[in-house]
């Protein structure tokens, strides 16, 4: 399956979903005005990928900021991963800066709500 790559902008995240290198990451800032429109192709790509994924998949979130509209779309992606995690080895790595308690709290909230393996990592 071909990689899905979007370069970051001032208000949309960098997205790299690369099965060949088993590298999956959403990074930088996510503040789009229309988060649903931005995340829809990402969601669709992951959904297609999960029908025949690699043996292991770790989706990295390395976000600096995200707005609440993005928070909902991230939840939607995580719920999709949860659905497939019963059959596949899927995990999430949630990056946060040491001083960024809000970003850590956001990750912990998802980890509590969504039944999937979460690792937290300071960067």
């Amino acid at each position: 399956m071909e990689a899905f790559i979007i370069s970051p902008t001032d208000d949309t995240p960098g997205v790299k979903l690369d099965p060949e290198n088993n590298s999956f990451i959403i990074s930088d800032r996510s503040l789009p005005e229309n988060a649903m429109e931005f995340y829809q192709p990402i969601y669709k790509w992951i959904e297609r990928y999960l029908s025949a994924p690699n043996q292991n998949m770790v989706l990295d979130f390395k976000l600096e900021y995200f707005n609440t509209a993005s928070a909902k779309q991230i939840a939607k992606i995580l719920l999709l991963l949860e659905k497939y995690s019963k059959e596949k080895q899927i995990a999430v790595k949630w990056f946060y800066k040491q001083e960024d308690n809000d970003m850590l709290a956001s990750g912990m909230r998802y980890a509590k709500l969504i039944n999937i393996k979460f690792d937290f990592k300071v960067y």
Binding site: L31, P32, E33, Y65, N67, A69, A75, E99, N101, D102
Partner: protein, 179 residues
């Protein structure tokens, strides 16, 4: 003094060595938000508070972009106001925008409801809005305003000023303690 950030005009910055006060009145769109953020990043706001303020600015600014009603029907940009001020103990973020009078009561009840919740209840409510994708079809005022209340850790201050038989002016304010 009046400053002119690219695309962000009518912005007044009153600055002294310790505090700043910024008032913006004009076009509310994604471009003006990004210019606003870029300008604020150049200011000397440090530590954990910086992140908190930025989160609030983004939510409150986008709240105007999404939900404000336009009093001038042929304008494609929603008019409103946005201000950030600082004193010894806190940052104060205030927004103002027009809304239809028939939306006032619902919004008032929603904010009062959110203000009445304790942190545990806010957390529970936020979780519900986060993963329930049907809830916003019936309740459009949700995650953003809950987030403002949680991130600021203070009650949301608000006021509705009736303009005429169609519109009111809605003032919303959050405060973030420096310590």
């Amino acid at each position: 003094m009046e400053i002119n950030i690219e695309g962000v005009k009518h912005t007044n910055l009153i600055k002294n060595p310790n505090h700043f006060n910024i008032f913006y009145h004009g076009i509310f769109n994604q471009e003006s938000l990004l210019n606003f953020i870029s300008f604020l990043e150049s200011q000397n706001i440090k530590g954990i508070i910086r992140k908190k303020i930025f989160y609030l600015i983004i939510e409150m600014f986008q709240n105007i972009i999404r939900h404000a009603d336009n009093i001038v029907s042929d304008s494609d940009n929603t008019p409103g106001m946005f201000s950030i001020s600082e004193n010894e103990k806190e940052f104060i973020i205030t927004t103002g925008n027009y809304i239809h009078n028939d939306s006032v009561e619902t919004l008032k009840q929603k904010i009062e409801g959110i203000n009445s919740l304790n942190m545990e209840e806010l957390d529970h409510s936020y979780n519900r809005f986060l993963i329930d994708f049907n809830i916003e079809k019936v309740d459009k005022i949700g995650l953003g305003i809950l987030d403002m209340r949680i991130k600021s850790e203070s009650l949301l201050q608000f006021h509705f000023h009736r303009i005429d038989e169609n519109f009111s002016y809605f003032i919303l304010q959050t405060k973030v303690l420096k310590n």
